[in-house]
Structure formats: C-alpha cells, structure tokens
Amino acid sequence: MNVIFISLLAMGGLGLFFAAVLGFASEKLKVIEDPRVAQVLEALPGLNCGACGYAGCHDLAEKIVAQGSLEDLRCPPGGSEVEEKIAEILGIAAAPAVKKRAVVKCGGGKALAVERAEYQGISNCTAAELVAGGSKACTYGCLGLGDCVTVCPFDAISMGEDDLPHVIEEKCTACGLCVEACPRNIIELVPCDNRVVVVCNSRDKGAVTRKVCKVGCIACMICVKAAPEGYQVADNLARVNCEKGDGVAEPAIPKCPTKCIVKL
C-alpha cells in the first residue's frame, strides 16, 4: 500500500514538474506566425510540386506574405483562381495570369520519322540521349521513352500509339516539370489561347530534315509568305508569333508542305 502511494506521489510530482517546465517554455519560446501565412497556405493547392521555385507550398506562402504582393511569385498549378484568392487575403489586386499548357513540339511519330537504329538500353529518354541520341535519325525529335510521362505529377501526359507523348489539356497545370525533364527540350509552355502550333523542333537544314522526317519543318518560308504577321523563321525553324493570336497564323496551316503546322 505504502509503495503504491509513494509511486503515485513520485510519478505525479515528476509529471507536474515537467508539465510546469514545458508550459513555461511554450510561453517563452512561442513562435508568432503571421496568421495570413496559414490562410495563403490554405488557398494554395498544397501539391508541394516546387514549380514556383520554392521548397513546397509553405515556403511560397511565407514568401508571398513577407513580400506582401504576388510580384515574381507564381503558383503555376493554381493559376489565376488561386492567385485571386491570395490577392483577396492580402488585400491587393491580382495580376491577370495567362493560362498555359504544355505542348510537345514533335510530330515525328512511328512511320513518319526515320529510324536509324534500334535502341535496346534503359527505357528512359535521358539514358537514350546519353548513349547515342536514341533510335531516331532526327537529333531533335522526341525519343518516345516517356520521361515526361513519368515526371508529370498530374497524369496529364500519356504515350500515344504513335510513340509520342500527348498532353491532356484539362489535367495540365503548366507546372513545367516535363519541360525540364525532356532531354531534348521539345516541350514548351504555350498559352491556352494559342491553338496553332509548329510541332517541330528541328534546327537542321531543310534538306537534312526532309531526309529524316516526313513532318519536319524545313524552313521553306511558305508560312511566312502566307501569314507574314503570324510566323518567324530562325535557326531553320518556324515559330508562331503567340502575341498576334491564332487568327493571323491560321491561313498558313493548309500551305505548309510538310504539314508540321497544326491546330491543336
């Protein structure tokens, strides 16, 4: 009986003592966090994808609150919706954000692009690029081994029958992870309003491109002639002038001899 009583007393005393010390310490060492950080964190998607350039959503929320504005700070997956919410929390006006999606700038799928060898190594674009540039004769084209599919946290890219990645636009948040993952820099973030795209990335001279791919851009300048405002050609590759909009670029689509300008 006595032992039980003493044990209770000893343990109770110890518990009380440590409770008092911790209670005191929690008051002394309290971390005062700006309540807006928690609010902003709530508004963010919470994906911790790192597309904003910070280590997770909490880091970005802290940066936004510390800066007091959204200048230079973006949440690509959240888009304008999230930015409006954050702006409301901070009591500032949100800048209109351009919604973008990933576009794969290669149309040279199976049967269209010439194969020069058989690649039997690790099924991974980066590895194939390191070995000898993969199986395709075109050194700019898609390797078709799906690094972008693997890296996409939103399941927005899938491999098509033609061994080319296809972006599912509704799922794409323009986080840019696939852009970085692609060893050939084929993927680009294009504003959603721009439907007309040149799906080729080859900087080879026209004659070379023609030999290795049926749908490569040969820099023939016909698109520029058909729609001078809509296109510009540099490094043997045509590019759409995104700022001018689709209307200007559209007339050149049927004119393109290799059909590498498409409306997605």
Partner: protein, 192 residues
C-alpha cells in the same frame, strides 16, 4: 582516466548505433545529407546529455531512496518526452528551416531507443553523476559520428553507378552493415 575510458567506450568501441544497434531509425532516415545529419546529431546529443543528467538525478534522488526502481522505465520515458518537446520548441523558435528539415524525425527522438537505452545503461552500470553526463555526451558524439559517416557515404553514392535492384534502402542497409563490421575493429581497444 576513468572518464576518458567511458567516453571512448561509448563513442567508438561500443558505438550506440553501430555496435548496440540503438537508434537505427534516424540513422537510416536522416542520413542523406551531411548537414542535416549533423544537426540531427547535435539535437540528439543535446537531448542525451540532458537526459543522462536528469535521469541520474531522478534515479538517485527519488527512485533509489524510496526503493522504486521498477518505475525507471516510466519515469525515464517521461523525462525524455519532455526534453524532446523542449528541444522541439527551441529549434522551432531559433531555426524554422532546420525545424522543417528535420521534420518528423525531431519528435521521433522521443522514441529513439538510443536515449532510453542510455538512461537505463547508466543506471544499470551505477555510474556516478559526472560519469553519467560524460556517458550521455559520449553516446551523443558516437551517434553523431555514425550519422555523419553514413551521410558522407550516401552523398557519394548519389553519383555511384548502383545496380537498379540495390538502389535506395538495400544499398543503405548494406552500407550500415559494412560500417558496423568496420566498427567491430575497435573491439578490444579497451577491455570491458
């Protein structure tokens, strides 16, 4: 001389992690970056020294005089849990980056068996106050040493051509085993 032997014994010869296999959880969990491993080692060492100090006081001033040695486990766990809470608050206040880097492994120091093992071993070996504190510090140093060696190797491994099936946990466990084997070499440096 006595204290030096206790120190070398606990830090190297009978290293808590590599010879006693205590505290394996953070040893594998927080050993991917040397910087993080060092911080974790420091935090654990701090808790170990304080735990050795406080548990000695409790053991010798409360438990032994009142003949309550069966309360050792319970009371030591209370001490350790409180200390970890305190360290957590302290780190959160002083460095929020470190706080987030350590993450779940910080509160997990509570359930780190190295610390409870330290308190129980010190009680079992009937160390005096100074010896206990030295023992706690040495255990912490040994823990930090093991973590640092591991983290150093793992940083190198990131560049190494590891066969696919060995990547991640398997190669880490193999290295842990090899390190333990290497530390066996210290056995016999000090008798007992």
């Amino acid at each position: 001389m006595d204290l030096l032997i206790i120190f070398i014994s606990a830090a190297v010869v009978n290293n808590f992690v590599l010879i006693y296999f205590l505290g394996i959880c953070p040893f594998l969990g927080v050993s991917n970056k040397t910087e993080k491993a060092f911080s974790m080692g420091l935090a654990t060492t701090f808790v170990m020294v304080l735990a050795a100090l406080v548990t000695w006081l409790i053991n010798n001033l409360i438990l032994i005089p009142f003949n309550l040695p069966f309360l050792q486990y319970v009371s030591f766990i209370i001490v350790i849990a409180s200390l970890v809470q305190f360290v957590e608050m302290f780190i959160r206040k002083t460095s929020s980056t470190l706080y987030r880097a350590l993450g779940i492994f910080l509160p997990l120091i509570t359930t780190n068996c190295a610390i409870l093992g330290l308190a129980l071993l010190a009680a079992l070996r009937e160390y005096n106050f100074i010896q206990s504190v030295v023992f706690g510090f040495a255990a912490g140093v040994g823990f930090t040493l093991a973590l640092l060696i591991m983290a150093g190797i793992r940083e190198e491994l990131e560049m190494a051509p590891i066969p696919e099936p060995f990547k991640g946990a398997p190669i880490t466990l193999i290295i842990a085993g090899l390190l333990a084997l290497a530390f066996m070499g210290f056995a016999g440096l000090i008798a007992g």
